[in-house]
Symmetry: none
Subunit: 126 residues, 4 copies
DNA sequence: GTGGTCTAGACCACG
DNA sequence: GTGGTCTAGACCACG
């Protein structure tokens, strides 16, 4: 499983794992019903503790993106496109919201903000 | 000094203080050369530990927005409009950047992102 | 043999099998002396491991509801109506007991509890 | 803090702790805003691991009964009587439900069930 | 093999 | 002092 962990401590390891798996689900790399690696296998692969991988899976379970069956393993929840789209937009709003609120506090106009958004959008590697 | 602290723990208190002072500088409420309250005075006023206000001022010093002179007090750094504008845009980019990167990962087009930005911009209280 | 297994993990599979066979005995679908399917046959039918069906039968043997005769098979124990009635009430008490104990801890009166029981009884599909 | 732990393994320790604190909240022994012991203090007192007490507190946080503030401690959530009553009845239904469903499967009438409930209610120590 | 739970330490940020 | 996170082991139930 392709997951990159940064030990620089800016974000808990379990959160880094969770968010990357989440994105794999969002992008269809992991699909409904797909089995995730066992918490122990993934722990070995990433060289972290079992508790850390378990914690990551717990986060995703809270969001109903995966489902753990004791003794069986962990699987991507069956979900339709609508559910995923909702999840994605919700997540995006949570991140864009504070930034835009701040832009307004700073006194930027809508035009200035969208211009900045466009610049950043184009800057980033496609 | 007008600073509102949320004890709900979603953000460290020192960071809340720092960001609010920063915004007062950005918005001209605090201007070049203005004296800030002493860390002890501010601590009393906000009913927090002196360590907390000290930490907040340290953050702002790192960003060169304020300057502490031993035995005299703490003052807003002399800065021109260009410097402040740069700071503001830099800060905004740091927040918008990850959100926009994510929007692209999710597969949203520039049009969809700007539409979402506009919606959020209009939603927020002016 | 009519047994429905839920893979959702809320209850061990062996327990699901055991309880459903138990209910078939209680309700007379399985009667004294009736032969149960062999653990291997049942395992195939339900698509579970032989270990699982064996474990289920062991549970029922502990309760003296079935009896395994080496080389012959497994049979519903000879029992009279009194024995079965006792078993049923005993089982029910085990489940109702903790709930009612809790109701008292919470401070509900007998009237309130029986009212709640009546509501739930009527709610459930007959 | 008065909490009794059974090591017999029928229920995880963290769940035992959580349920007993929950009952103290329900019964007014712990009231809105009251501080709970720190996870480390409680761990020492109960002679369990810190992770176990933390896990217990996490369970209660999921149910919005307590609130943890990093660096401050853990507190009983401000809640009104209506909220608590709802919680209590909800919990009770979850326990009574399966038992009553079973009673019906066994073929008991509402009268028989309520009679049994009454017997158990009176049997238990007041 | 799978998860579930637990221990007894550790280091960190915040205050 | 407070939580938050993590490790490197362990034993268990289920299958």
């Amino acid at each position: 499983m392709k997951i990159i962990i940064s030990q620089t401590g800016d974000q808990p390891i379990y959160a880094q794992i969770a968010v990357q798996i989440k994105h794999q689900i969002f992008n269809g790399i992991l699909q409904s019903g797909d089995a995730l690696p066992s918490i122990r296998k993934l722990a070995k692969e990433l060289k972290v503790s079992v508790i850390t991988t378990k914690r990551a899976y717990e986060e995703l379970e809270k969001e109903a993106l995966i489902r753990t069956v004791a003794g069986k393993g962990t699987f991507v929840t069956a979900h339709d496109q609508f559910f995923l789209h909702e999840k994605r937009v919700e997540e995006l709003k949570e991140k864009l919201g504070p930034a835009i609120r701040e832009a307004k506090e700073i006194g930027l106009s809508l035009q200035e903000v969208t211009a900045l958004v466009e610049t950043i959008f184009r800057e980033e590697a496609p």
